[in-house]
Symmetry: C2
Subunit: 334 residues, 2 copies
DNA sequence: GATTAGCAATCAAAACAAAAGAGTGCTAAA
DNA sequence: TTTAGCACTCTTTTGTTTTGATTGCTAATC
């Protein structure tokens, strides 16, 4: 579709613009981008690329900037996905070697590392519990009217929650409840904690609803809990596009809306790295930004999702290279 | 020190400036602030107040803005601390009635409520565990090399953590460890988890250091953990002072620095509400902002600290009134 | 036929200038 | 002691000009 020189010109413009944040002139490309032709020739190529929608102008006599179609072509066809230095590899490896006690922390550490290496803002969310299989449930009495439930899943996820009762509960009762819950749920996917289970337990047990109900409700609640973590929110403010108050304000608003962030991270279906450029974002509010996400999966089970959010003029090469490397490393860990 | 009319003029200027964010002119005060004199008289008073350091000018022919000394005088002597409407009282009460399973959540809810009512950004931090008395410790085996420790304190605080081992641990071992830890620590302040305890346990128990050491380390770690919560970061961006990129950037940077936020919240000693205006802040980075903090305490035990961070032109009356009311309500809860 | 030098045309950004307006400080009168 | 009056100061706004970067087109060149 695009001939060789046009590809080179487009790539040069995208990369130059990613570096400088200034519209790229025909002259700027003659010097150092390995294009063996004059600025006039490049101007002709640029005019063609603009006609086909890969480039935009900010005004009649300005240099060119990539359009979203241009970025998309760059991401699909032109970028290098090994744009990562030895130092970066070493740094990432050492960060991921941190011993974690809870599997959720791994995603957090990865998100933090990505933010540090790429200098972009990252957002992360923990594992989706409801895709997982219950390995064990433990109930521990913490007082006459308070207990803790601990749920272990096949992927090593541990979720715990405190449950309070309106009446006294005995150690004996907890034991029975423990037995019944495990009998019914061990080896089952988490979705099984639902209405039929509730009814079954009411039937099987002599205890009042006052005990069973809060347990089920609270367990459901904690399993649905989605904690969002933000890393390097301030980093974005050093980018020139954030000199526009409009953009900066919008950005803070977006980051502050937890539901939006959760939707953003949950919207990617695939196992692989997803790139959303501007309007490609499912969410209207993100249309001025680019988002790159990837899911950390083990045996098809979601162990958390990380998203990078930055300007459309994002360093896709670096971002994707780093994500690929982190993804590989995470897979190695378990 | 200040005569009556000067107080009135200062108060009017502070309140006017808090409302409008514009330098206040002598004319603006003649109309609606109950001052029975001409603008010329007010000009004279303003010149005096400026000479004594309560007011500043942005340039020779501009209106006046309060200096930090002016704000301080206002906060100490002039503000109303019952600046809270019936609707606000109702809203706060209803929010604080939310049933919480963990005592930490109460601080979070309070911080969220304050942010919603005042429209400022709030920061909160959970209870300081190390001031508390250990009521009970429970250890639960979650696998052959993994267990959970749950620590209960006298104030109702529950802290739990997962501990992983490099060797297999039996149910029997855990029982003994459970017994020993409780024997040694029940009724003791949390600081007792220290070197002497470690040595005692090594002596008393036949288990390898590989088991005792990770337990003590991990427990210490989780008790020191300070999670910072942010509410309404975006709200500040609607204020006119945040139209300056300099200020906005600074603000995001400050909020993003967790250690700074923790220091800020931990620096207040007193039980009561603390107001730091601009340079009064212990931290250099906060010198362009005002911070109002208060500790939620029960029986002298810290149950969390909340801070409001906003422009020096903060609505101190509203903020302090709301905080006082919330403080009272929290005390009622337990 | 593709490439390039040359140049007028375009437009943003910077620099400059002028006018308007808000507010003060001071003086002198009430 | 208070206030009316007014010159003076300084910011803000608005308009104009200049500068400079960059393009698109044309005609010459390879």
């Amino acid at each position: 579709m695009l001939d060789d020189r046009k590809k080179k010109v487009l790539q040069a413009i995208v990369e130059e613009y990613i570096n400088t944040a200034e519209p790229v002139s025909s002259n700027a490309l003659t010097s150092n981008h390995g294009l063996q032709c004059s600025s006039a020739t490049i101007r002709n190529e640029m005019a063609d690329l603009e006609k086909s929608g890969y480039l935009d102008k900010t005004h009649t006599s300005s240099g060119r900037i990539p359009s979203e179609k241009g970025y998309r072509y760059y991401v699909d066809e032109l970028l290098k996905d090994d744009d990562i230095s030895l130092e970066e590899i070493k740094y990432i490896s050492s960060k991921l070697e941190t011993k974690v006690n809870e599997i959720e922390d791994l995603t957090k550490i990865a998100a933090n590392t990505i933010s540090e290496v790429t200098h972009y803002t990252t957002v992360s969310i923990g594992p989706k519990a409801n895709e997982q299989i219950i390995k064990d449930i433990k109930f521990i009495l913490l007082g006459s009217r308070m207990m803790m439930a601990v749920i272990l899943t096949d992927t090593g996820l541990v979720k715990e929650t405190i449950i309070k009762f309106d009446e006294d509960v005995t150690e004996k009762q907890i034991e029975t409840i423990n037995y019944m819950f495990n009998k019914k749920l061990k080896g089952q996917p988490i979705e099984k904690i639902d209405r039929p289970l509730e009814e079954y337990l009411y039937d099987e047990m002599t205890y009042s609803v006052n005990v069973i109900k809060p347990i089920i409700e609270q367990i459901k609640k904690v399993l649905e809990d989605e904690q969002i973590y933000l890393e390097g929110a301030n980093k974005s403010f050093d980018l020139p596009e954030f000199n526009s108050l409009e953009v900066a304000k919008n950005f803070v608003n977006v980051l502050d809306t937890k539901e939006l962030m959760a939707d953003m991270l949950n919207s990617g279906f695939a196992d692989d790295i997803q790139v959303y450029i501007g309007d490609e974002n499912p969410k209207e509010e993100l249309k001025d930004f680019s988002v790159v996400t990837f899911k950390h999966k083990v045996n098809g089970k979601d162990l958390g999702t990380i998203g990078i959010i930055g300007p459309k003029r994002m360093d896709y090469s670096k971002v994707i290279s780093v994500m690929k490397y982190i993804n590989k490393k995470l897979k190695e860990i378990e």
